[in-house]
């Protein structure tokens, strides 16, 4: 049963990822990306990392996909019609070579580094309490620094917005 779920989820993830890249309209591509990310969350769930799965959904689908959608909608509005302005890529062959190189490298790494007699890794579930404890205790300093960096980024963003507004007096129009 888990195998079937795994296969179904993988199929959804791969298919929607391909769709995300190939869709003509950016909006559909974004939806494909969202579905793909939800599928990845499902894979995390199968591995017993429920916490990670939930945050995958909340952060990647709930925040990042919204951001992408928002940007697309603000940037191009062609009253619902499919905008087909891009030229077919002329560097397609370069892409294929690069992809082939990466695939070769990955395959080589897997073949060279895989143990001769593969042993199934011990299945263990990280308890949420343990995770919290180690985040607060062992990695406390890193957590605080991360928080400070993100806080600084937010303050910086707000300052940029503020400066922009002050430079344009309310009377003038662009």
């Amino acid at each position: 049963m888990p195998d079937m779920i795994f296969l179904a989820l993988s199929a959804v993830v791969v298919a929607s990822a391909v769709f995300a890249l190939e869709a003509k309209e950016l909006i559909y591509g974004t939806i494909g990306l969202g579905v793909s990310l939800v599928g990845v969350a499902g894979l995390f769930m199968l591995l017993g990392a429920e916490y990670l799965a939930m945050f995958q959904v909340a952060v990647y689908v709930g925040a990042v996909v919204v951001l992408i959608l928002f940007t697309i909608m603000l940037v191009r509005r062609e009253s619902g019609r499919i905008v087909d302005e891009e030229e077919p890529a002329s560097f397609g062959s370069v892409g294929i070579y690069v992809a082939a190189l990466v695939a070769l490298a990955v395959a080589g790494a897997v073949i060279l580094l895989a143990p001769v007699s593969p042993v199934a890794p011990e299945f263990y579930q990280v308890q949420l309490q343990d995770l919290g404890r180690s985040l607060a205790a062992s990695y406390g300093v890193a957590l605080v620094i991360l928080g400070l960096v993100i806080g600084a980024a937010v303050v910086g963003g707000l300052t940029l917005v503020k400066i922009d507004r002050e430079e344009k007096p309310s009377g003038t129009t662009e």
């Binding site: 909006i27 939806i31 969202g34 429920e50 916490y51 939930m54 945050f55 959904v57 909340a58 689908v61 709930g62 925040a63 996909v65 919204v66 959608l69 928002f70 909608m73 009253s79 619902g80 019609r81 949420l128 309490q129």
Partner: protein, 344 residues
């Protein structure tokens, strides 16, 4: 019978199917805390809302279908099912249908983690609260997609307003729950209810409750935060171009979210299934849930709509601050050694 003997595999399949259909989990999903409960409550809520608003504003409300018009939701249901679906020429109808269905699924999903009694919870997840949070965070994107796919300015503006509002209020909403999580040390909703055996969380977490309740109103797009569907400005907001069955599904999704959010408030702050044993546990949950719903509807009947800038300022400056103060208060409570009251 003979055919079944020829195909022993079929007999097994039928047996396992019967086993699945009569299994407790399946019945829970389909009947009690699950689907049927949600659908009936949604129908009841739409009727209740009209009745209460009618009382508050001295109108009469539905009267003719059944006693006190209780059957009105069913009449509406049938009417909407048979209505023609009209949409703008350039609207993305497939996307609209997909999003309306997705909205309903997202709205109903959190019900699986909400405990309706010691023995009535579909999925007793350790991370139930985060599950609800994750599912709710998907809402704004679907609303925005509906607004965009309608290819109508009203819908798009409604969708954008939904996005701003829900993203802004999500943060204080979940920060306000942090106090409860700190006191109980768990994210499991059933455990959170059990922790309220001595004192419900409304009392120590009164600030958190106020913030959560206000943010829930905004998340539900209910008055005074119903800007995304401000009738006088935006027709029906993101719902403007939905019609017929698609409108019905979208409409039901919002009421489902209403029901689920009320149940969540009950679970987190009002002691969930706890109460004198004269009334069975699930009934307590439903009663408290509808009590919360009645309060929310009464607020709708009483207050005017707020302005966009006031809405955003309230969310980012007042509620966020209050939620942080609530966390400090909780820390002080624990520091004073009162934490044991809510330890399971």
């Amino acid at each position: 019978m003979t055919q079944l003997q020829v195909l022993p595999g079929l007999q097994e399949m039928v047996d396992s199917l019967v086993k699945i259909v009569t299994s407790r989990t399946f019945l829970e999903i389909v009947i009690f805390p699950g689907l049927l409960n949600v659908l009936l409550s949604v129908a009841f809520l739409t009727w209740l809302e009209r009745k209460i608003i009618a009382r508050v504003q001295l109108r009469i409300g539905p009267l003719y279908a059944g006693i006190w018009g209780v059957l009105q939701p069913i009449a509406d249901f049938v009417k909407l099912l048979f209505k023609e679906m009209i949409s703008p020429e350039l609207a993305d109808v497939k996307l609209l249908m997909l999003c309306a269905l997705g909205l309903m699924m997202l709205a109903a999903a959190p019900i699986v983690t909400i405990p309706f009694g010691e023995a009535f919870v579909i999925a007793n997840m350790d991370i139930g609260l985060i599950f609800v949070f994750a599912v709710m965070s998907l809402f704004p994107s679907v609303l925005l997609l509906i607004g965009w796919g309608s290819n109508s300015k009203y819908s798009f503006l409604g969708g954008l307003r939904s996005l701003f509002q829900q993203v802004a209020y999500e943060i204080p909403m979940w920060l306000s729950v942090l106090g409860i999580v700190m006191l109980t040390g768990t994210l499991n909703l059933a455990e959170i209810v059990r922790a309220q055996q001595k004192v419900w969380f409304v009392i120590p977490q009164v600030l958190g409750f106020a913030v959560f309740f206000t943010a829930a109103l905004a998340e539900l797009e209910r008055t005074p935060f119903d800007l995304p569907e401000a009738e006088t400005e935006l027709v029906m907001g993101w719902m403007t171009e939905l019609s017929g069955a698609a409108f019905m599904v979208g409409f039901m999704a919002m009421y489902t979210k209403f029901y689920v959010m009320s149940a969540l408030i009950t679970t987190l702050f009002l002691g969930g299934w706890l109460g004198p044993a004269i009334i069975p546990e699930p009934i307590w949950v439903v009663l408290k849930t509808f009590l919360v719903a009645v309060v929310i509807v009464t607020i709708r009947g009483t207050f005017p709509r707020v302005r966009v800038d006031i809405l955003l300022r309230t969310g980012w400056m007042r509620l966020l601050l209050l939620a942080l103060v609530n966390i400090v208060v909780t820390v002080i409570l624990i520091w004073l050694g009162l934490g044991w009251v809510w330890r399971v």
